[in-house]
């Protein structure tokens, strides 16, 4: 009787059509695959890299907590906001974080629907990234309220005042969109993780771990009935999450487009924002994936092909952005609207023009390097480009918010904007929150979907061979 492992040695690996880069590199059996991923959580010593980054993240998180306490104590005026620039960092951060989250949903939902098998090795941590990013994002609209303790007035509930939210406001849409998005992402992520939690349970070395993962996996047994419901639910969730993810950033862009401000009031914003969101999200995925695969020696699972594919998505969305950057001045010129033209002019040469040009460089010019295969597959170079894009996308939102607000209709109200140290500390602090959450995830939960990776193995189908 030959074991699967032996059989697998003789099965030739079939490269996927259309690419020369493999999804899984190196020989794998079910056992080694399970071992490789679960051992990160269960057996292997936590690498020093984890501790270093955790320490840095924790320091930033403490800064975040301190800043938030001070913010709540003094009031939202500790930020650099003013009249007319009544929104600045907080909303920028909100849009930025939400946008980052979008890549996770895209990878897990849209690529699942499109049957892109390669996404199996990155979808789990991308989803985790989504959840933590949405969490960070969700904090900002709360923190930037004048009276944050009354946030619940944005929700409809029976109350003694007999007053309900105003459903024409994009901010109420935001509340629903972001909370739906957070909930659905969490459900999707958890549903996908249940079978893998069972794997962790079954490989747990001590009672505590067994109990912990045993409860978390709810008693998963891998019965074919389980898989049937699980698969259906996953597909349906993917089908629901796909329009959801598009709607969320569309709604976020409504925060701007519903307003009458020149530079905000534009129909191109929804696709523009969605593309930008995916763009920045993939950059974040790469920023997370590149060190992770190195530190945890996952190069065989997260291969150059993944890097290449992510880079291609970035290139494509980056080009969409470039198009919108180009079309914006065109439409304002074409409209003949004095105010719109003034904003375009102000963005290009006004006191905040540096944000415009740096944004353009980060999001359009520098990413053109991705046309070169070397830049798409070399981890270090790709990391660099991703970093630039991530910064560029933050700056883009900052640019949109500030340049439209600080010079709008009446020149008498024109102003400038200068950030306060608290603006920066809360932003950096939120990154710390994200890093801490993400590292805890890596440490305690399976960061790669094990069961979906098994499906990728060539002998996973009855009769051998891989489904596409």
């Amino acid at each position: 009787m030959t074991t699967v492992a032996e059989k697998q040695l003789q099965t030739p690996r079939r490269p996927e059509p259309g690419t020369s880069l493999p999804v899984i590199a190196g020989a794998e059996s079910f056992g080694t695959l399970t071992e490789q991923i679960t051992s990160v959580v269960l057996t292997r010593p936590t690498p020093p890299f984890w501790y270093y980054t955790f320490a840095v993240g924790m320091a930033a998180l403490i800064m975040f907590v301190v800043s938030v306490i001070y913010l709540l104590y003094r009031g939202v005026g500790v930020f650099g906001i003013e009249i007319p620039v009544a929104w600045s960092f907080a909303i920028t951060n909100f849009v930025w974080w939400i946008g980052i989250g979008h890549a996770g949903t895209l990878i897990s939902a849209i690529l699942l629907l499109l049957n892109q098998g390669w996404r199996n090795s990155i979808n789990r941590f991308a989803e985790a990234m989504t959840i933590f990013a949405v969490m960070c994002a969700g904090l900002f609209p709360l923190l930037h309220l004048g009276r944050p303790w009354l946030f619940y007035w944005l929700l409809p509930y029976p109350n003694t005042m007999h007053v309900q939210p105003q459903f024409r406001s994009p901010l109420v849409w935001d509340v629903f969109a972001v909370s739906t998005y957070a909930t659905v992402s969490l459900l999707f992520w958890y549903l996908g993780m249940v079978p893998d939690l069972a794997s962790l349970r079954d490989r747990a070395k001590n009672r505590f771990a067994y109990g912990f993962y045993g409860v978390l996996c709810l008693g998963w047994r891998g019965a074919s009935r389980h898989w049937r419901y699980h698969e259906t639910a996953s597909l349906l969730l993917a089908g629901l999450a796909t329009p959801l993810v598009l709607s969320v950033h569309t709604v976020v862009s409504f925060d701007f487009t519903i307003a009458i401000l020149p530079g905000w009031h534009s129909t191109i914003f929804p696709p523009y924002f969605v593309a930008g969101a995916i763009y920045s999200g993939f950059a974040m995925v790469l920023i997370l994936a590149i060190p992770l695969r190195k530190v945890y020696h996952l190069e065989n699972l997260v291969t150059e092909r993944h890097l290449n594919n992510c880079a291609k998505v970035m290139l494509a969305t980056g080009l969409i952005l470039a198009y919108t950057y180009a079309i914006e001045p065109f439409t304002s010129w074409y409209s003949g609207d004095t105010f719109e033209m003034a904003v375009v002019h102000n963005r290009a040469v006004g006191p905040h023009s540096w944000t415009f040009w740096v944004t353009l460089s980060c999001n359009v010019f520098i990413p053109q390097l991705l046309w070169f295969r070397k830049w798409r597959t070399d981890p270090k170079r790709l990391f660099l480009v991703s970093f630039v894009i991530l910064y560029g996308m933050w700056l883009e939102r900052y640019m949109i918010i500030i340049t439209s607000l600080h010079r709008d209709f009446l020149p008498s109200s024109w102003s400038n904007f200068i950030a306060s140290p608290w603006d920066v500390s809360v932003l950096v602090g939120s990154i710390g929150l994200f890093v801490v959450c993400f590292l805890l995830f890596v440490r305690f939960l399976p960061m790669i979907s094990i069961f979906e990776m098994r499906e990728l193995l060539p002998f996973s189908r009855p009769g051998g061979g891989v489904e596409k």
Binding site: T34, V163, L191, S199, L218, G222, S224, A241, E452, P462
Partner: protein, 182 residues
């Protein structure tokens, strides 16, 4: 035949395989033999088992109904609040500004449907179900790793200690286990 769990009355026979091919073949044979209470366990979804292992899948219907309920809830809530509950002139817009109600209606549709998919799927699985007789099988831990199990419950009216074991042994399992109830 090895004993998986010594205590209690017999729960099931479990055949352990090292790959999906034999599992599917065995399951098909078991079904053709007229067994109803059997279940296949695998570390990843094996599509072929869907047609073999009996059961129905109400999840899509659940999701559809929940989605409709979500849409209805959102639309009715918004319209009622804006028109009936406290009609207020907001920026000169009409009370029934329906285009403004679209985003939330969509979001709640998705929220309700997703919740239905998630809770429906897990609920149909019977979760949380931390204790289950099949866990009495010591080797069952590998069902989430690299082993495939086919269980035929003793409750099945066709179950016969000898015949069932013979049927399963036909497919050369790595082991055939006897699983106890406790």
């Amino acid at each position: 035949m090895r004993i998986g769990s010594s205590t209690g009355p017999l729960y099931a026979y479990a055949a352990e395989f090292d790959g999906p091919t034999k599992l599917v073949d065995a399951a098909r044979a078991v079904r053709e033999a007229g067994y109803k209470r059997f279940e296949a366990y695998s570390p990843y979804p094996v599509k072929e088992l869907d047609e073999i292992v009996p059961g129905w899948n109400p999840v899509p219907a659940l999701v559809l109904f929940a989605g409709i309920a979500g849409a209805g809830t959102a639309w009715i809530m918004q319209s009622w609040i804006a028109i009936v509950d406290f009609p207020i002139n907001v920026g000169g817009r009409p009370l029934y500004s329906w285009p403004a109600f679209v985003p939330i209606t969509f979001e709640l549709t998705v929220l309700f449907a997703s919740a239905a998919a998630f809770f429906g799927a897990l609920g149909l699985c019977g979760f949380p179900l931390l204790h289950h007789p099949v866990f009495n099988l010591k080797e069952f831990g590998r069902a989430s790793d690299d082993r495939f199990f086919l269980c035929i419950e003793a409750r099945d009216h066709k179950f016969n200690v000898r015949k069932t074991a013979e049927l399963l042994n036909e497919f050369e399992p790595l082991e055939l286990w006897e699983v106890g109830k406790d």
